[in-house]
Amino acid sequence: MLTITDLHASCDGKEILRGIDLQINAGEVHAIMGPNGSGKSTLANVLAGRDRYQVTRGTVKYRDVDLLQMPPEERARAGVFLAFQYPVEIPGVSNIYLLKAALNAVRKSRGERELDAMDFLALVKERMQLVEMKEELLYRSVNEGFSGGEKKRNEILQMAVLAPYLAILDETDSGLDIDALQVVAAGVNALRSPDRAFLLITHYQRLLDYVVPDVVHVLIGGRIVKSGDRALALELERTGYADLTPALTPATMLDER
């Protein structure tokens, strides 16, 4: 599904990703953990196509195409979904309008017919049950005045409606209370399938109590320094990241800040 090879990326001339190698197969759930400033969100944004980051070296192959050559909307249409760490408020655009525009843009690019209002509403209402979201939020402006938990649920709802092949969740668990976390996790679990892969970016291992990953990676200083199974996440919870960082010189650590 996704093959990342020697990926380097910078922002404002500062190198943040320093050679990422990652292979994710269909059906798998991968978790990427790491301390603040390690490059987790940068990786998510580079995969989604944010032009603030410049890829300076390396390749990303997604379902046999060169992902890095595609603008963000084409990635989305091809089935790459990023759940934002900080979902953006868009006054004046209703949530349901965005959902419909997004779904129909995806369907159109796949040569499928656009859904009419009735079919669309039926689909959305069904998917909303996954995230236990109040229907009223559909008719409000996108994320405007939503609580933190509502914003994250809304991201999961968008994911459920768009049914991507590769879902990247950028710290979707941050700032959630345990109820909201369970709802988000249930949404992810419900969408797990043999032809879909997940990349969960998280700061805490808590989410992984509810969404059991196939592989856990530790990202430090822009590189994956260790990979393992779920036990690695539990070990990190106990020991922290300190044991994994000796390779970094004080100079590069300063650079990370």
């Binding site: 196509g49 603008p71 868009i90 655009v93």
Partner: protein
Amino acid sequence: MSNPAPDTAARYVQVMHERNDVAREAAWLRTLRESAVARFADLGFPLQQDEDWKYTDVRPIERAAFMPLPLDAATPLIPDAGQFRLDGVSGPRLVFIDGRFSASLSDLGGVPKGATVTTLAYALNSEPQLPAAHLGRYLPDDSHGFIALNTALLSDGAFIRLNAGTRMEQPIHVLYLATASAALLLPRNLIIAERDSQVTIVEHYAAVGDMAYFTNSLTEIFAADNATVEHYRVQEENRTAFHVSGVHMQINRSSRVTTHALDLGGRLVRNDLRAVLADSGGECHFNGLYLATDRQHIDNHTHIDHAQPHCTSREFYRGVLSGRGRTVFRGRIIVRPGAQKSDARQVNDNLLLSRDAEVDSQPQLEIYADDVMCSHGATVGQLDENALFYLRARALSDADARDLLTFAFAREVLDRVRLAPLRARIELRLAAAMRRFAPREVHT
């Protein structure tokens, strides 16, 4: 460019003196005209040295020397006048073609008892005492030449009057259609809402064809105690037209006037919107949207006079600019001595879609009372990069994402438009405008 400007002002004065139809007018009206003629002869066209006209150069209007149409000119047939109707609005309709009333396109049915919906010319002829008490009474002392020009040559427009206690549910659509090239059009509207009355009026300016012409309109609104007036000025002139408008209102005890100033067209546009809150509990709401692209110039001057205590004013103006679009917003609020508990808020937001567009936004608060709440805010910004990326990450194309965000920005003004058929019409116009607004086209 080296040609000297014709002395248009002098020609206008000559036209004023040559009008032979005014002789049979009532004395008060002749006096009103004569003082306006004298005033125009004195003022002429505004100059940019005048602070109020600093950013708006009206010399192109002067150079073009637009002239009033002969009173006996034939009225053209408008085969597609239907496109200017407001679908779903079933109230009375007054249609003026090149400033002259068209009985065949108008529909004055459905006017309830207690309401008068007619032309100003008819009212001046048949019941002159009704307009006499109001016409010209709400114009500012420091009025500029365009106001004097309108009054000096006034001929027709809408006359709307609501008797005390009359509530009119259906909106009144007043449509001014321009068809003639090089014409000077001088619509004059008078709206009188007596005590406890309620009315909705849409002043609508549009054109058939892309000829140059000049609309210089003037509207006076009198809202008596506890009256409610919802007023719209929808400006869809063609893109070579000049449009100068004045809307002047007096708001009395506990009455409320809402004006929506929607400027979508015109090449050079200047609007003066003024309210005097003349007694306590009065309220005015100014809601504005302007779109300026290519070389359009749109200047909105608002002026709210809190003359008495316990009055409320709200201004919410938004502008979208692209190409070499240029807009001016100057919002003046005066709180007079003793006008305690005045509550005034003013917001002007501008969205710039191109580097060559230019905005001047100036709040001007003059507060002479000490127990008041007054606030103002002006913003000039571009589309939010985070929001753009968010929409593109949800599969919308860059162009669609830009259009959607631009539309959403403008829509916050339209959400305040209560008249649904009108809102739908403007939304369609907006959506059509988005395509030409997109920066990718602007820079080619």
